[in-house]
Each structure stands twice: as C-alpha cells, then as structure tokens.
Amino acid sequence: MFEAILVMALGAVVLGAALGYAAVRFRVEGDPLVEKIDAILPQTQCGQCGFPGCKPYAQAIAKGEADINCCPPGGDEGIHKLADLLGREFKSLSAEHGIEKPKSVAVIDEQRCIGCTLCIQACPVDAIVGAAKQMHTVVAPQCTGCELCLPPCPVDCISMQPIGESVETWKWKYPVFKINPTQREAA
C-alpha cells in the first residue's frame, strides 16, 4: 500500500518537473491566429458583433471568448470560413447580432444635410468628407455599409442604398436547376 503511494508520488513528481520545465522552455508569444481570423472578417468595422471593430472580434474568437456566428456582414460564408479555419462546426448566424443584408452604401441627402460633422466622426473608415456647416458626402467606393453613421445624424438625412449590379460586377449564375417536368413542357 505504502509502496504504491510512494511509486505514484514519485512518478507524479518526476512528470511534474518535466512538464514544468517544458512550459518554460516552449512558452508561446503572440498569436498569429488573430491575423488569420481578421483576414476572414469583412472589415466593415460595424460593431454588430458587440466588439468595437473587426480586430477585437478576431481576438475574442481566438481567445474563445466569442462565437464565430456574430458577424452579420460576413454572412453564412464568413461563418463557414471561420469554421473551416478553426475546425469548428458551422452555426447559422446568431439572430441577436442582426441579419445578413445585401451590400449597401450610405448616401447622404445633400439637401437635408446641415453639416454637423457627427457622421464624419462616426465613420470608422473616414469615408465621409465635409466640414462644419458644409455639406457632407459619402465616398461610395470606400463605404463599407456599416450603418454607423445613421444613428448620429440629427436630421436623418443618411440612407442605405443597396449596390446594384453592373456589367462589370455581374456574376454568372449557378447552373444547377431543379428539374421540373411541367416547366420543361412549357419551355
């Protein structure tokens, strides 16, 4: 009995010492995972995930503090990519963080703009130009569609407008159709 305890204790001490040494020897600095997660996130910086930007959300995912389904702009595809990267199961978008919307840009109704600069301060990517008491306007190619400029506007002159398709951005459709005999007859 005493012998058994002694043997186990001895083993524990030896192994513990080895592990302690390894923990010091193989200490990890930095976290390259955050960069990889950040690269998948859409960089709208909208904060819908509950973190103040994409990078903080990436850090939270890397630490395991946030789930992967909190990013509405990234949509299902973004979640799939995160799930692939992290080897987790796919989860559908968490409803409390919002829904996936078509890609839009903010448009300022320049007649109603009073030039208060509140939206300029709210824009995370500096895509709104203007000065105090001057009309503001959105630089459309740089707008990420985060909607952060909507709430601060005192005169509600900013609206989100979906980006239409042009000949250059048009995509070939997925060529898989459900076979429907009646439709074929009609065609």
Binding site: V7, M8, G11, L19, L86
Partner: protein, 194 residues
C-alpha cells in the same frame, strides 16, 4: 529481424488500430475533415504513442513488476500518457499555433484516445520486449495516421459530392469508415504471423 518487420507491418495494415481493432474512433471521426489537420494529428499521435509505449515498458518492467504493483498498470500508464500529451501540446503550440488551434480539443484528448492506452497494454499482454514495444507502438500509430489520412482524403471529396440530404455529414462518414474497415479486413490474408 523479420519478426520486427512483421510487427510493424502487422500493426499498420493487418491489425490496423482503427479499422480492425476499432480503437481511437473519437479523433478518427473528429479530425479527419481536412487532410492538413489529419496529417498533423497523425504526426502528434505517432509521437505520443511511440513515446508512451517506450515509457510504459520502462515503468512496467523496472517499477511495477519488481514491486509487485501490476495492479497500478492502467493508472500509471494513464498518468505517463497524460504527461507526454501535455508535453506534445506545449511543443505544437510553440511550433504550429494554427495546427494547435485546429486540433483544438482533440489534442488533449489524445490522452483519452483508447488506442494510446490500448497499445501499451497490448504490449504487456503480448510480452513484447522494449524494441518490440516501441516498434509496435510506432506501427500502430502509423496505421492510425494512414487511416486518418485516407479517410480525410475521402471526406474532402465527400464535401463536394451529391450526398442525399439525410446522409450528409457524419452519417456518410460512418458508412465510409465501415466500407474502409471491410477493405482493411482483406489484409488479414497477409497474416501468417499473428
């Protein structure tokens, strides 16, 4: 010399740890979604299993048997394996953080991989000497890796396949694993050694 070769070959193919002994199914199903992670997991398991076989032989032969403590075998083996797994985890975290993240929970779960405990215990019951123990552990781990990689390759193809909705995911994976198991049974014909 040939007997050593037989031990390795037998462990890899004839008595494949996954398909024939049906050991270690948890990581087998869990980490075989991508080829990359399958290779990583295979390498980690190979390291752990070989080390575990060597260490457990030493513990069994020089610590437990002289003190008539054979009843502590399972316990002491588990503790040794846990320590080796911890060590492996630290090394992987340092050398490949992404692999560490991807293997996730399965890496510490190597501890509870029944193959890793099963092979050292089989070593004892098969009365292998030290070298045989190491080779048997290594061969089994290579067999595990082989199964994992083959299966990951198939699963990557399955991702793109038109699988009936109700069979998608784990269901078709189980069926595939069953078919592969049947295929590996074919190697039993090689076995004159057993």
């Amino acid at each position: 010399m040939t007997s050593y070769l037989f031990i390795v070959l037998g462990a890899v193919l004839v008595n494949n740890v996954v398909f024939v002994r049906i050991l270690g199914l948890c990581p087998f199903m869990g980490v075989s979604k991508k080829l990359e992670t399958a290779v990583g997991m295979g390498a980690a398991t190979t390291f752990v299993l070989t080390m575990a076989c060597g260490a457990s032989y030493v513990i069994d032969r020089w610590l437990l048997i002289p003190n008539q403590l054979e009843y502590l075998r399972t316990l002491s083996f588990i503790v040794t394996i846990a320590a080796i797994v911890q060590l492996t985890e630290l090394v992987i975290q340092k050398t490949s953080p992404l692999l560490h993240q991807v293997l996730g929970i399965y890496l510490p779960l190597i501890t509870t991989n029944c193959a890793v405990l099963g092979i050292p215990l089989l070593n004892v019951s098969l009365r292998h000497n030290f070298l045989e123990s190491l080779l048997f552990g290594f061969g089994s781990a290579v067999g595990f890796t082989l199964a994992l990689i083959l299966f990951a390759g198939i699963r990557e193809r399955l991702e793109a396949a038109d699988v009936p909705i109700h069979f998608r995911g784990t269901a078709i994976a189980m069926i595939t694993a069953g078919l592969m198991s049947l295929a590996f049974m074919g190697f039993a014909g090689l076995d004159k050694y057993k």
